[in-house]
């Protein structure tokens, strides 16, 4: 068995590590650090991105603030410090244990705290026992279904492992000499690839950086990092990402295009709402401009993710949530351009704001990091078309739901009014878009499955719920043809059926998904979703009640 740190260069390095207990509130130069590339989870990325993702995994937050009174530290500062002087961090709270049954129930940690030190977690005998049992269970039955507690314990073990890989200097900085997909090595193993002067020079630059860090010397540290990244790049120029690529990703990470997008949409919603009966024309124009501005930010955001990942951005919950906002606004723009009624923009903006804010605010539920795809999703034209179509149909239904809210809101305000025929028509047009896209997307999914999984349709929960959602909308449309209901029924149906969409989209992954029935993601996401469902049902029930009473 080869130990991960069996290289002999490691020993002197460990022995050199001097703990200066009063360290570092130095803030390294982000631009310099971003030029330092690392290989992590199947792709090359700027060091800053790795630090950001690591801190998020360790603490669940994107900044480090152990107590409410302590100053915020950024991810790079914290992780470089952990890397450079690991023993200083062993007893500092850095690892999130927020699942109470695990933290309090099993490990006996204090209830109010969320962050704990490496020692507190790694030395916990009950946790170790739990993990050992889990491993034994796994060896007996490899596909064993984990309990929520075991799942959480496993995630915690991954956090501990991440901590240890930083503390042990396992940061893959040294590029492979020739192969673009070759394994990168940590700096202490540089001799394995570059046993020459250039390798020694890079190692010296690293030692200089570390010494500067330990002396709290920001300027020297930044210079040394700059030197280090240049020397590493020079070792294998064909493999190392170009400075432009690295700074582009850093720019994307800092710029937050989707955040700017929701701000623009929120302003648009306010402007369009406020000017409904006053300054209508300039208000409408300004609303249009703001919507287009937000849309532009979103397009830029998608462009960036595609450029960084080299693949379409529709593979996890985060990306579909962002794509939903995009689709909603897209259809609103098209329909608004046709009907010029302001309702589409007014309806789309809050939906887009809501989904983008969710994506922005729940980084642990909706993981925004860019990772390689699992094999089944790779290089697949049909898959991309299928997912984009389905998600666009959800977007259309979200828009329909938002328009339905306007209809039902007007009914609630004045149950007797009967001048809503144009709104009903808008609703019907939006539903048409959704039904066409959902039917096409579901069927394309069958074509894709036939091609990829070797069968057309096999009642997989995801495809089944897409079908259920489609059947629900078909019920609404056919009921209208049968004369069982009219525009008001369409509005009620648009809201209620969207709950089926929510189930197909979120529920299958988070509620039905085996072993994920209740916790983890659920603690955040599940209660929000449930609250949303209940609120919508109450809203609809109220509207029906008012309408009946009138």
């Amino acid at each position: 068995m080869k130990s991960p740190i069996s290289n002999l260069k490691f020993l002197p390095l460990v022995l050199l590590l001097v703990s200066s207990a009063f360290a570092a509130d130095i803030v390294p130069d982000d631009a310099q650090l971003a030029q330092l590339a690392v290989q992590d989870r199947g792709r090359k990325k700027p060091f800053t991105t790795l630090a950001q993702e690591s801190l998020l995994t360790l603490t669940g937050k994107s900044d480090y603030q152990p107590t409410e009174v302590s100053p915020k530290q950024n991810a790079a500062t914290v992780l470089i410090d952990l890397w450079m002087q690991p023993d200083k961090w062993e007893r500092k709270p850095l690892i999130q244990v927020s699942y109470q049954p695990l933290a309090v129930g099993v490990m006996g940690l204090p209830a109010k705290q969320k962050l704990f030190s490496y020692r507190e977690v790694a030395d916990s005998v009950p946790l170790r026992t739990l993990l050992t049992d889990l491993q034994r269970q796994r060896m007996r039955t490899p596909n064993v279904e984990l309990t929520p507690l075991q799942k959480q314990a496993q995630q915690l073990a991954e956090r501990v492992r991440l901590y240890e890989s930083w503390a042990h200097g396992q940061v893959a900085l040294v590029p492979h000499p020739s192969k673009a997909d070759g394994v990168w090595l940590p700096i202490q193993d540089i001799g394995t690839y570059y046993n020459d002067a250039s390798g020694a020079a890079a190692q010296n630059a690293f030692v200089a950086a570390r010494e500067a860090w330990l002396k709290n010397d920001t300027t020297t540290f930044d210079t040394a990092v700059g030197k280090l990244s240049k020397q590493l790049a020079a070792l294998s120029p064909g493999v190392y990402p170009t400075p432009d690529e690295l700074s582009f990703e850093r720019f994307y990470q800092h710029f937050h295009p989707f955040r700017w997008a929701w701000i623009a949409y929120a302003l648009a919603a306010i402007v369009l709402g406020v000017t409904s009966g006053w300054l209508e024309k300039p208000g409408y124009k300004l609303g249009w401009i703001l919507i287009l501005l937000g849309f532009g930010f979103q397009i830029f955001g998608f462009y960036s993710r595609i450029a960084i990942a080299g693949r379409p951005p529709v593979t996890n919950m985060y990306e579909t949530v962002v794509w939903l906002a995009f689709g909603t606004v897209l259809f609103a723009i098209i329909l608004e351009a046709i009907y010029r009624c302001r309702y589409f923009l007014l309806a789309a903006a809050p939906v887009a704001v809501l989904s983008l804010v969710l994506a922005d605010a729940l980084p642990t539920v909706l993981d925004s990091s860019i990772n390689p795809l699992v094999p089944v999703l790779r290089n697949n034209f049909w898959l991309i078309i299928h997912v984009l179509t389905i998600t666009l149909s959800y977007a259309a239904f979200a828009l329909a739901m938002a328009v339905a809210h306007i209809v039902l809101g007007k009914i609630l305000a004045n149950p007797k009014r009967n001048d809503l025929a144009p709104l009903h028509n808008y609703l019907y047009r939006t539903l048409q878009v959704g039904v066409l896209l959902l039917a096409t997307g579901t069927i394309l999914g069958g074509v894709w499955a036939n091609y990829s999984w070797g069968r057309f349709w096999d009642w997989d929960p995801k495809e089944t719920w897409a079908l259920i959602a489609l059947l629900c909308y078909l019920l609404v449309l056919h009921g209208r043809i049968a004369g069982w209901w009219s525009g008001f029924g369409l509005a009620v149906g648009s809201v209620v059926c969207f709950l089926a969409v929510l189930m197909a989209w979120y529920g299958v992954n988070f509620v039905l998904g085996k072993g994920l029935h209740s916790y983890g993601f659920g603690t955040g996401g599940y209660s929000y979703a449930l609250a949303f469902v209940i609120a919508e049902l109450i809203f609809v029930a109220l509207a029906i009640f008012k309408k009946r009473a009138a």
């Binding site: 001097v18 703990s19 094999p375 697949n380 036939n450 999984w453």
Partner: protein, 640 residues
């Protein structure tokens, strides 16, 4: 499609025909929107419930009660009738009905495709090993095969066991064709164990055979072992990795090989109790020995306040072969200890209760066991690195009814003698004893199966002597217990039948061969795995793709055909365009892989003659909806 009728005339015509013709009246009822709404609603509700059933139980349950249940198929047929009738109620069709008719006919076509696929096509699996051609696919349906000795006719019956496994309280009885007998199945086990019986063979050319029973009082286990002189795989038995048992014509010379030892390996380990997976190893000879060290405690501290001198630390040394040797820390600290092989040495040169590096030196920050660590120097004699030869029991026939045995352990002869049927002798590993059951000068093996007793908890002890034998001896093969029942109530002995095997069951004069297993399908060509590749994501071991290079040897083709199955890109055979379009070929999609054997791949095989209906129907639905929504008759007044 357009008729010269005006809208009013058309309505009149539709109203009239319902009064005049009973057929039309029925069509209009069957095609009514009310029925359509009812069907849409019930189907949506049923499959919604099914997804929850799948989540709470498993896929088999959802399939059995919903997706593949007869009532569900019936419902879909009713839906087809409703759709067809709904389209007919609009007859005579006009241009405005174009989208409507295309969509509804598309759904019918799609459902017909599903039915054709289910009745005439199949889904199956094939597990290929590199270089071995195969023609047989395995489906996921379990079947019984029944063959009567009287006429040799073979019957196959579908025999699902997943949802309601047969048991003594709910047995299943099947009437056997052409006899008055019934087959009663009243047992099911998911884990069957193979037992090799040695029986006398009528053929004088048969090899000699011996049946032994290994018994351990400590383990409370008996393991039957049957060996033949020929062929090679019948003459040896791997005793669960603990020992090797072989049956040879003559005993070999016990003292055969001795070797010269190369240079000693020198290593330094820093072992942290808290990080057993992250040892810090410095090999002075630059070649890791593979030895691992662990620091544990007999009484692990429950809190950090326990003083260090109250903890009984234990040093564990694990050899590259997984053999552990352990000492209390106090007995080895600052001493030279000789290891089990007699020549390698270990020095525990330092201990720190709360290890940390300060100014380049290891120190103990406190006297509390917060981060216990030791520094160990090892000098390994490379001879210790060659795996110890496992104990070997060698048997050889002596005369007609005697057996000579010889036990070799660690290269030393530890036991020998000559025994006959009924004799026992100790084996010398744990308390295992061997008893000779039968010795046959001409023998053959009969394979029998029995359900494995519940496997002993494999993790109770990590004692090297506790064989996880039974767990290993049993497989994940399921099996059933069956017996014959005559009309007068007589029954045969019950027999266990493991999946993929058959057994002969006799009752009076009736001899029936009963088999149980997954339904196989024969391919009209053979398929060989030429190469299997698993490219990985850069810098990780995460698979990025699975690529099976396949060769098809088809008797109807002059030369073998080659194709590649990878994720999202199935291999086809025969592969021409028209056959693929019509579904008249076999599609091989990547389904599973075995991380421990990269020369193995499992492909899902699909033969689906319903495919052309499926894609035509799909196309019609999408096109129809688009036409319905966006290509309106310009002459028609706008509808809100």
């Amino acid at each position: 499609m357009t008729t010269p009728l005006t809208e009013a005339q058309r309505r009149q015509l539709i109203a009239d025909r319902q009064k005049k013709s009973a057929t039309w009246a029925i069509i209009h009822i069957l095609g009514s929107l009310k029925i359509a709404m009812f069907l849409l609603f019930t189907i949506a509700l049923a499959v919604a419930i099914a997804t929850f059933a799948e989540s709470n139980f498993d896929t088999a349950v959802a399939r059995h009660y919903f997706y593949r249940a007869p009532w569900f198929s019936a419902w879909l047929i009713v839906l087809c009738i409703n759709l067809a009738c709904a389209a007919l109620t609009r007859w005579p069709w006009q241009r405005k009905h174009l989208g409507f008719v295309i969509t509804h006919m598309g759904i019918i076509t799609l459902l017909i495709g599903a039915m054709v696929g289910r009745l005439n096509g199949f889904e199956a699996f094939i597990t290929l090993h590199k270089g071995t051609p195969l023609k047989r696919l395995i489906t996921q349906d379990t079947i019984l095969t029944v063959q009567s000795a009287r006429d040799g006719g073979l019957d196959r019956l579908l025999f699902p066991v997943e949802i309601h496994p047969p048991s003594e309280t709910s047995p299943r009885q099947i009437s056997l064709p052409d006899t008055a007998l019934q087959l009663k199945v009243d047992g099911y086990s998911t884990q069957m164990m193979e037992i090799k019986q040695i029986i006398p063979s009528p053929s004088p050319a048969s090899p000699a055979g011996v049946a032994l029973e290994f018994h351990s009082g400590m383990m409370g286990q008996s393991i039957p072992i049957g060996l033949l002189l020929q062929p090679e795989d019948a003459s040896t038995f791997d005793f669960f990795g603990l020992a090797k048992i072989q049956f040879l014509p003559k005993l070999p010379d016990a003292n055969a090989d001795k070797k010269k030892a190369p240079a000693t390996l020198v290593e330094t380990h820093v072992v942290l109790a808290a990080a057993p997976d992250q040892p810090i190893v410095h090999s002075a000879t630059n070649k890791p020995s593979g030895y691992r060290l662990f620091l544990g405690a007999e009484n692990p501290p429950t809190s950090a306040d326990v003083p260090v001198d109250q903890i009984k630390f234990i040093v564990v040394l694990r050899s590259p072969h997984g053999e552990d040797q352990s000492w209390p820390l106090s007995t080895v600290l600052n001493k030279t200890t000789t290891l089990r092989d007699g020549s390698s040495k270990m020095v525990v040169a330092g201990f720190w209760a709360d290890f940390a590096m300060r100014e380049g030196k290891p120190v103990s920050l406190t006297n509390q066991p917060l981060n216990p660590a030791i520094l160990v120097h090892l000098q390994i004699n490379p001879a210790a690195l060659t795996p110890p030869s496992r104990p070997t029991l060698t048997l050889a026939p002596v005369g007609k009814d005697q057996i000579a045995y010889q036990i070799v352990k660690q290269g030393k002869l530890t036991g020998q003698g000559t025994v006959k049927a009924g004799d026992s002798f100790p084996l010398g590993w744990a308390d295992w004893q061997a008893t000779v059951k039968t010795v046959e000068p001409q023998a053959e093996i009969r394979r029998d199966y029995a359900p494995a007793k519940s496997a002993p908890e494999a993790d109770k002890k990590d004692d090297a002597n506790s064989p996880q034998g039974m767990a290993l001896a049993s497989s994940n093969l399921p099996g059933i217990r069956a017996r014959l029942v005559a009309p007068d109530g007589r029954t045969s002995e019950p027999r266990w039948i493991a999946s993929g095997t058959s057994q002969v069951i006799t009752l009076g004069n009736e001899v029936i061969r009963v088999g149980f297993g997954l339904k196989p399908i024969a391919l009209p060509f053979s398929i060989t795995l030429e190469k299997f590749e698993v490219p990985r994501d850069e810098g990780t071991t995460t698979p990025a793709n699975f690529i099976s290079s396949l060769r098809f040897d088809d008797p109807t083709m002059a030369a073998p055909r080659y194709d590649t199955a990878m994720m999202n890109t199935p291999a086809m055979h025969p592969g021409d365009f028209w056959r693929s379009l019509l579904g008249w070929n076999y599609k091989f999609s990547q389904a599973q892989w075995n991380p421990d054997d990269l020369d193995e791949t499992t492909l899902q095989v699909l033969y689906d003659p319903g495919w052309p209906f499926k894609w035509t129907g799909s196309l019609m639905i999408c096109l129809g909806i688009a036409v319905m929504f966006y290509f309106k008759d310009p002459k028609r007044p706008k509808q809100i």
